[in-house]
Symmetry: C2
Subunit: 511 residues, 2 copies
């Protein structure tokens, strides 16, 4: 307990101000040369931003890692980072075909080399022909390279069994985050009670809350149903909407499917209900579908919001404004570092569309090598092509291992007293609930730090994603190798059991 209190003090105080003060100097006129930018003068919207996935616990993990390299002693030999969906950092190997195409695009002299298969060369040539001066080094159009947008449209049509996709509605982005922020930015307006409200699931991926803070929009929480495998409950949507209408103007609903951090896969019926609700209430729909390839549970299937909207008939399909997001970072490729992604928009007002292009054009273009990576994901080798077998083998291996780890995570966590974990139906995370003694509640935030210092396991506390008041969770990825993940889960179990015991003994004297 004492340990925890010290940590609480240590980590909540932040930086000392002394170091700053001594940097202040007197200027030539004898006035104090004050800093122009201090915590007092910092943009308050920046101050309000929170992003736990890379917060202080992760910084601490980095410090410990560097310490280990320099020979410092810890009760473990390695930090296991289960805080972020970063597949390659956890040892997943890149998809060979994707990297071949990117290498060929980067150094086209390799197009003459016999090292590379013809289908990779063909993809690279197609991409380069779409680039100014046939170079990855030229800016693309703000919306992305034309032929890549066309490939994406073809991919979406195939994925959605023939629902038409127009490449004019496709925009390449710098990861999915960039697209999400851009669309939100368009939608935020008004002051006071007419300020835009953004409906987000709780728990959520903190990009949403961070962007909402930064833009001073109003965050409208709708709670996912933990007792029902984190399903979205339409009644809860209505409740949240009606309550929010009193103090803001709800304009947009965000859905993450499969869920992050909650790992649920939405049923078709649920999606229909959401879309009907958005139709009735004139809401813009943002569907974050970056985990569309990450579905593990045999009872679940990914349904795109767009396809469901189409099946609801033209009255819906021709009216509901929808933006959906995809990424190179997740799925089976896990290419986070390339910052590739795209969004598809539906039913956007034409003038608004021109405004969107203008907004995107200020940042010039998404990284072109990320666009190339996105192209491979939507346009993989076909069965008759030379790279097909290897590609298929690599893809299946990644997705197979993830499915196995999803199941193992749920199983082991549910053997721990005081931990309850829903099935990890999809995505890359478990978000188990932890039941902690009342006296431990104050230090709930610190438990993750203690876990890190004692075991080297880096997780993110549930508060970073949002949770019902009085409940406690953490998010962990299922990305470490099967062996490491098993070690992680067992260490976690032992830590939690020990933690509960310590508190039990502290509480006894009081009774």
């Amino acid at each position: 307990y004492h340990r925890l209190s010290i940590m609480l003090t240590r980590y909540s105080s932040g930086y000392s101000n002394n170091e700053n003060k001594c940097l202040q100097k007197w200027n030539a006129n004898g006035k104090m040369r004050e800093k122009s930018l201090t915590m007092d003068t910092l943009n308050p919207q920046v101050k309000a931003v929170e992003y736990a996935v890379r917060g202080p616990i992760v910084t601490k993990a980095g410090d410990i890692e560097r310490g280990l390299q320099q020979g410092q002693k810890h009760p473990f030999t390695e930090v296991i980072k289960a805080n972020i969906g970063d597949s390659h950092a956890m040892g997943q190997k890149p998809i060979t075909f994707l990297r071949q195409v990117v290498a060929l695009c980067s150094f086209p002299e390799l197009l003459d080399s016999s090292i590379f298969p013809d289908d990779a060369k063909q993809r690279a040539r197609r991409i380069l022909q779409g680039c100014g001066g046939q170079s990855l080094g030229s800016y693309s159009a703000s919306q992305g390279v034309d032929c890549i947008r066309q490939d994406i449209a073809v991919y979406i049509e195939q994925r959605d069994k023939g629902v038409p996709a127009d490449w004019d509605n496709i925009y390449l982005t710098t990861g999915a985050s960039d697209g999400i922020v851009s669309i939100l930015k368009m939608l935020v307006s008004g002051q006071g009670r007419s300020r835009s409200g953004v409906m987000i699931p709780i728990p959520q991926y903190p990009l949403y809350s961070a962007a909402i803070s930064e833009m001073e929009a109003v965050q409208i929480n709708y709670y996912l149903d933990e007792d029902n495998c984190w399903a979205l409950d339409i009644n809860e949507l209505h409740r949240a909407y009606q309550a929010a209408k009193e103090h803001c103007h709800p304009r947009v609903i965000c859905i993450i499917n499969p869920g992050n951090p909650t790992g649920q896969v939405q049923s078709k019926k649920c999606i229909e209900e959401v879309l009907h609700f958005a139709y009735e209430e004139n809401l813009f729909v943002m569907s974050d579908e970056v985990y569309q390839d990450n579905v593990y549970s045999p009872d679940c299937q990914f349904h795109s919001f767009k396809k469901v909207l189409y099946e609801m008939g033209p009255e819906y399909f021709n009216t509901v404004e929808l933006a959906s997001f995809h990424s190179t970072s997740k799925g089976y490729s896990g290419e986070c570092g390339f910052r590739g992604g795209y969004m598809e928009v539906l039913n956007l007002d034409l003038e608004v569309k021109a405004q969107l292009v203008k907004l995107l054009s200020v940042r010039l273009c998404p990284p072109v090598s990320g666009q190339a990576a996105m192209d491979v994901i939507v346009n993989p080798p076909l069965p008759h092509e030379p790279s097909y077998l290897q590609f298929h083998k690599e893809k299946s291996a990644v997705l197979g291992a993830l499915a196995e780890k999803a199941q193992m995570t749920e199983q082991i966590l549910n053997t721990v007293p005081g931990i309850k974990c829903n099935p990890v139906q999809g995505a890359m995370y478990a978000f188990p609930r932890i039941f902690i003694p009342p006296r431990a509640v104050e230090e709930a935030m610190c438990v993750s730090l203690l876990l890190l210092e004692e075991t080297g396991i880096c997780l993110v506390p549930g508060s970073g994603f949002g949770q019902r008041e009085g409940t406690y969770h953490f998010r962990m990825t299922i990305l470490p190798t099967t062996e490491k993940l098993k070690v992680l889960l067992e260490k976690l179990r032992d830590f939690h059991i020990k933690f509960l015991k310590e508190y039990a003994s502290l509480e006894e004297p009081k009774r």
Copy 2:
């Protein structure tokens, strides 16, 4: 004249509203299902953003280009895009060594191949060792890959003849734009008369005005002195500052050196004056130095703001808050598509620094292949290494050709009656002044469109960058190949002479 009026109507009306209206539908309750996002409900800050470098003229150029490919007839066979600093699109070849390193990082199997020189392999290994799982596909830290930040610090120390650089102050960015927007975002606060004011040069690169609009900061214009080769005049800074103090809180001064769109290179004395001014007035300094390698005039030399600050003594060097920006997009590499860049900050308050990292972390990380490209630029082959000769030859060829084209552009433009062009001392642009008859003034915006339709030349009107009232300019890049640039300049000359004649004949009857 008639031609111009028609165009004015055609291009100023924008999209017709009819197409949108027919998309509105009645919903199940018999209410009209209105669009959630229209020009009326769009974020007004987004509406206010302007970015001419990729505005309607460029869109039109793209349309004409596609038309040409499909066999449409125009009075020219090719569109020459001199609107944007996009070197590779204009035929500049990538630096071999840079692309070898990026290809090796993308597909590390190539590290075993004899195609690549050892120094390229060594750079690639170093970069990969800094990446999680030794993969470009993992997220880097929000500030960028450690070893690349270290290489940048070493580069800055060498560039600045020993002025110390701490890699803890280096942040990789998604092009320079991303860094500039992030720093500005930190600095914007307050309402009404205490709202943050941002001093920017006029003419300026429109990223600045766009970001200021988007953040609802106050733009404070200081005018560069066109009669003195676009030099920055310290008296004009004082004037702008004093005037602005009446209605906002000036907090930051932005300088672009070498200048975009104006091509001037600042003298050391001028930089000293700016820094002294910033010191006295407690301003944050943002120095956009992305053209630091693009200095052509033998009388000019690049001085970094940081080095000059250092030489002014510790009273300045230890107090003035400075952020300087660099990029992979310009210089001799011209790697725009990689979206690489970095910023160095000085004297940032420690708590503010933590807030900056937090803000950057929401977008996870800059593209890692762009970081790799940045690394090569700051860490090129050394004289004893196998790639040195070729690298040096390629770099000199690019910079030599740019110097030649800078001179040619100025010379030819100054032979045209009614055009006056300052020397292009650096960067990649000329920003000549055009003198047009009073009756033509109304259509000044349209002249560029007419030029495009008649000659295929795509330029940006001066209004996109800002200019003194009653003066007219355009920005053109010097990036087309020497032969094409010559054709462009001659076409431009002929067009302008013809244009002046048409107006002269229109004005005569009135006299």
